[in-house]
Symmetry: C2
Amino acid sequence: MVSKRIGMQTMVIQRAAIHSYAAVVGKKEGEGPLGNEFDDVIVDDTLGQKSWEKAESEMFLDVVKRCVTKSGKRMEDVEFLLGGDLLNQIISSSFAARQIGRPFLGLYGACSTMAESLALGAMMVDGGFSDCLMCATSSHFCTAERQYRFPLEMGTQRPPTSQWTVTGAGATMLVSSGGGAHISGVTIGQVVDFGIADVNNMGAAMAPAAAHTFVTHLTDTGRKPEDYDLIVTGDLGAIGTKLFLELVGEEGINLPQDRHLDCGLAIFAPEQDTHSGGSGCGCSASVLNSHILTKLFSGELKRILFMATGALLSPTSSQQGETVPSIAHAVVIETGGVIE
Amino acid sequence: MVSKRIGMQTMVIQRAAIHSYAAVVGKKEGEGPLGNEFDDVIVDDTLGQKSWEKAESEMFLDVVKRCVTKSGKRMEDVEFLLGGDLLNQIISSSFAARQIGRPFLGLYGACSTMAESLALGAMMVDGGFSDCLMCATSSHFCTAERQYRFPLEMGTQRPPTSQWTVTGAGATMLVSSGGGAHISGVTIGQVVDFGIADVNNMGAAMAPAAAHTFVTHLTDTGRKPEDYDLIVTGDLGAIGTKLFLELVGEEGINLPQDRHLDCGLAIFAPEQDTHSGGSGCGCSASVLNSHILTKLFSGELKRILFMATGALLSPTSSQQGETVPSIAHAVVIETGGVIE
C-alpha cells in the first residue's frame, strides 16, 4: 500500500468531498462585515435556554441540523459526528451529540478544532471508513468569558491585545463522492510554545504555531503561497496576524496581504470595538462554513489553505505559571468538480 | 473503493498492528492485584512537580517515552500522537505533547479516550496515513478529585457508589507492519443517557453506553461473546458491571463472567477500599497496556474486545441540573502474527 504521507506532517487526500456546510452566529457577529453570509443570526443569544452553556450546546445542535437539512440527506445518513468546543469536558458538543444520536468522536484542539475535525474526517472518508460524516464546532462569548476570564457581570475592562470570543458555530458535511469542493491535503500541527504567558494575548501565543504549520506545509508539499488563492488563518487577530507574517517572512516566505485572510479580523469591523479581533472555535468555523466555502463552491476561489489555530491553555495551567502552548492544523480545500 | 464499514457503527481494520505498549501507575495501583505487571509504579505521586496537574502531565510524558524506548524506535519515528485526558482543556496531554514535539491530535472522550485514540489511530494507519503513531492517555486521583469533586484537603467522605480515579497512564504504539497483535475492528459509540444525575455513580451512568456499543458491535459483526476470549470494559466498577450484564442480558446476550473483565474491578482489590472500583482514563489505559496486551502478545489471549467507557459530564453541567451522558468505543485486538 502506498503511503499517503508526504514530508513530515502532511497527508494527501484523494477522496473527501464537502457536500454541504452551515454557520450560525450571534447578534454582534451578525452586525459584522460578513453578517449577511451566515445561515442564521441569533438575536437572543440564550437561544431560550436557562444557561449560556445550554445555549451554546443548542447552537451546536442547530448548526448540525441546518447542515443536514441543506444537504438534502437525513440525520441517519450521517455516519459519524466529529466535534469539540472550548468548554470544560467539551459539554457543548457532547450534550448536542446526545440529541443528534450518531456515533460521536469528541475532539479538543481549542480554536483549531474545525481544522482538526476536517483533517480527521477527511482521513476517515478517504480511508474508506465513511461515506458521510459531520465535522462541527462552536463557541459562545458568554461561556468563554466566564470560564477563561471573568464573570460578565463584573464588567472587567479588556486589554487592547484581547480578542472577542465569537458566538458562533459551523458544520461541514464530508462525503466520499459528489460535493462542491474537496479536501486534497491535511497538515497536522505540532504543539509550539514561544513562551507567551499573557492570557490576554492569544494571537501572539498562536502565531508561532500557525507559522510552524504553514512553513511545514509548504516544505512538505513543495508549494508556494501563490499556489493558493487564499491562506486562511483561524483567529490570530490583529496582533497575531502581524506576528505570523513576520515569522513566515523570517523563513523567506512572502505572503502577500491580498492572499491572506484571518477569520478573527474578517468577522468583526474595527468600529465594533473587539480590540484585536475575534477568536474561539466558532470564529474560523463560522467564517469557513459561510464566506469561504461559498466562494469555493461558486468557483470564485479555486484552492485555499484553511489553517485554524488553538491555544492549549487552561485557567489552571495559567494560574500555575505555565506559558501558552499552541497548535495549528491546516486543510487544503479546492474545487475541481465532483469526485467520482 | 470498498467501504470498510460494516453494520451501523463498525469498521473493519486490515492493517494496524500494536508494536509496543507501556503503563505506569501510582502507589495505590501498584499495591493492587496487577501491581507487578506495570512498567513502573510511581512512589511519589507528585513526580517531583509543583502541582498535581504538572505531575499528571509528567506521567503522560513518561509513559510515551517508555513506550518509545520499549519499541526500539526513536521519538522522531512517531508520526502522530493521539491523546487526551480528563482535565479541563486536556492540559496533561497538551503540555506533554509540547515536550514530545510530534504532530498532535487532541481528543476528549473522558474515560473512553484510550479506545477512542486506538480507534482513530487504527483508521489512520489502515488508511495509509501513518506507519507509526502513538495513542496515550492519563488520569491522576489528585487532579480528578479537585476538578470534579472536592479538594482533597477537605477529606470528604465518599459514598459507596463512588469510584477511585486511577493514577496511571498508558501508551500504545500502532504500526503498519510487524507488531505482536493487531487491531482488526473498531466500533464507534453513540452518546447514551439513561437519566442518571448522581455524579457519584459513574458506573451506572456508563453501563448503558457500554451495553449499547456491545450489542451494536455484535449485531454489526454477526459475532457472539464466545468469539472473544475476553470482553474488557473500561471502568464500570462493581455497580456498573452488574448493570451492564443485566442490560446485555435483556438483549438476550449471555456474557459468562469468566469472559468479562472490567478494568475498574481488576486494578484494585476489595480490601483497598475504593468502594465501587477504579475509574479514570488511566484505568483502562494502564490495564490494557500491561495485563491485557501482555496476554495477547504471549498468545494466552487470541482475540479480545476492548471497550472503554466515558462519562461526558462536567461539574458545570451537573450544577446546571443535567444528567450524565456517556459513551463507549470498542476495539477488537487479536493475535495472528505479523501483518505483512
